[in-house]
């Protein structure tokens, strides 16, 4: 297994497509509730948030286990986060709004939960485009700073979820809690690394 990182990557790739596969399958089975657009919006949205948290868990898992596999798969997990976020956005603009752009712009300007959702997607865009090796090399130290905006995206994503639920905040708060724990872990580890003379893991540069 250790010698076949390519195989693991492929398996992760297939797993990441599973939520989409199940969605399409449910669609063909006419099993997307009475309001399929709402269901697709919900499923793509929730999987965006899940993939975001999974992506953000990779570095802590590397730190805790010492296994490089987590870092090797981080990029494609991040890209899948962006993929599901884009499906979510397309569902909203195309299926739900029927490409009524005036309605779209009004929503973005006037509905805070849509404003932050749109902002989160927009912030993912530069990260997605700079996720290849050439860009990592080219941007150097700036790359890391750019990709730290992922935590801003996380905050906006959680806010998006909190602001759209009608009454029960349990589910969005669970996701927010997990996200916050991951952030606290990174901050704690950062300061811990600074205090001890050990060098911090240089995983950021090896990403991909």
């Amino acid at each position: 297994m250790v010698k076949t990182p390519g195989l693991i990557k492929l398996m992760v790739f297939m797993l990441c497509l599973l939520p989409l596969g199940l969605l399409v399958y449910a669609g063909f089975q006419n099993n997307l509730t009475a309001d399929p657009i709402e269901e697709i919006l919900h499923r793509t949205g929730i999987w965006t948030l899940r993939f975001l948290l999974i992506t953000l868990a990779m570095t802590p898992l590397k730190i805790l286990t010492g296994s490089a596999h987590f870092i090797r798969n981080r990029r494609q997990l991040g890209l899948f986060t962006f993929f599901y976020a884009s499906l979510h956005l397309i569902t909203y603009v195309w299926l739900d709004l029927g490409l009524a752009w005036s309605h779209f712009f009004e929503d973005v300007l006037e509905r805070p939960y849509i404003t932050v959702g749109m902002l989160a997607w927009s912030l993912m865009l530069p990260m997605a485009f700079t996720s290849n090796k050439a860009m990592i090399k080219k941007l150097g130290k700036q790359w890391k700073r750019l990709h730290q905006t992922v935590y801003v995206v996380l905050g906006l994503g959680c806010l998006h979820f909190i602001w759209l639920v009608k009454s029960d905040l349990t589910e969005p708060l669970i996701y927010t809690g997990i996200g916050l724990s991951l952030l606290i872990f990174r901050i704690a580890h950062f300061y811990h690394g600074k205090r001890s003379t050990n060098q911090r893991p240089t995983n950021q540069k090896k990403a991909g």
């Binding site: 509730t33 009475a34 309001d35 399929p36 709402e38 299926l95 029927g98 009004e106 509905r111 759209l164």
Partner: protein, 312 residues
């Protein structure tokens, strides 16, 4: 739209009759309900009729969708929870406790109400505050009939309703977030309006538990949450009651809750809605929401001079 008195609730109609009737509705042949006792195959062979916009009602939502996708928080927060969990609720016998500012006091058997008052079938649009909508054939009696039966005093200005509170049968009532029991209210003129229905059936059958059996309110020009389900108590008040959603979030949900595309929910737009019809609907994008859900001719007068952005 006109409402014809039709049948008693023991007459059963299967969905095929509705399907053929739906074609008539789409053709603009009939106004709303009221052909359950007649056969419809003959009518379909007639020459294509002239389009009469006044009597066209939208395509019916399928019975399956209307009975498996709805909110009834007493059974859970998801849209599927009511149909999954409400099946065992006991609805017979059922009494409604009447009280407050009226002459008729105390419990009344539901059966007495359904036999005393003329049942009607009516096809109404149903607009949820969450911006989706359905078109449903309801069966019930006019709330106005019940109000007259209760003989309200002149001091009675509002009618107040309560849902059954029984956490053993309604599991979500063990949980927080909503002060149970669910409560609703109407102004007296709204209660007396000819559109306001006390519903005991839908799609020609007895009301399924998940849709609020055995007795629920339908106020078609208001958001769906005004349609309180499984009613056990009715009171006449001189003051405006606080309805449940107003108690939960007064800045987002008001007492009136009239469907109004010009007054948005603080967090989302009410200008459009997703119409649930059944069948393949992946490419059915939003349709425009109508003022008073399209029932302005019947109800707009009641709100003349009122600032509907303030009294939302």
């Amino acid at each position: 739209m006109k409402f014809k008195n039709t049948h008693k609730d023991n007459e059963i109609t299967d969905e095929s009759v509705y399907k053929s009737r739906r074609k008539l509705l789409q053709a603009g042949l009939i106004g709303s309900a009221g052909i359950l006792s007649s056969t419809s195959s003959l009518a379909l062979t007639l020459p294509k009729p002239k389009h009469n916009a006044k009597f066209v009602i939208d395509e019916l939502t399928t019975e399956k969708d209307a009975t498996t996708y709805n909110n009834f928080y007493e059974f859970g927060l998801s849209k599927s929870a009511p149909s999954e969990k409400a099946g065992t609720m006991q609805t017979e016998p059922w009494t409604v406790d009447i009280g407050g500012l009226c002459a008729q006091q105390g419990p009344v058997d539901l059966e007495k109400l359904t036999t005393n008052f003329q049942l009607e079938e009516r096809v109404y649009r149903m607009r949820c505050v969450e911006a989706w909508s359905m078109v449903i054939p309801w069966m019930g009696f006019k709330l106005a009939d019940l109000v007259k039966f209760c003989k309200p005093l002149s001091s009675a200005k509002y009618v107040y309703f309560e849902t059954l509170h029984d956490p053993k049968q309604m599991p979500r009532q063990n949980g927080g977030s909503i002060p149970w029991p669910y409560r609703e209210g109407l102004r007296m003129d709204e209660a007396m309006n000819e559109l306001t229905l006390m519903v005991v059936g839908m799609y020609g059958k007895k009301l399924p538990n998940q849709n609020g059996a055995p007795l629920r309110l339908i106020v078609p020009w208001k958001y769906g949450f005004k349609g309180i389900k499984s009613i056990v108590k009715i009171k006449f008040l001189d003051r405006q009651p606080v309805n449940s959603w107003q108690a939960i979030a007064a800045n987002e949900y008001g007492f009136y809750a009239n469907v109004n595309p010009n007054v948005d929910h603080p967090r989302w737009s009410q200008a459009t809605e997703r119409r649930i019809t059944g069948g393949f609907s992946l490419f059915n994008s939003r349709i425009k929401t109508q003022m008073f859900n399209g029932y302005g001719d019947y109800v707009a007068d009641m709100y003349k001079g009122m600032d509907l952005a303030r009294y939302f």
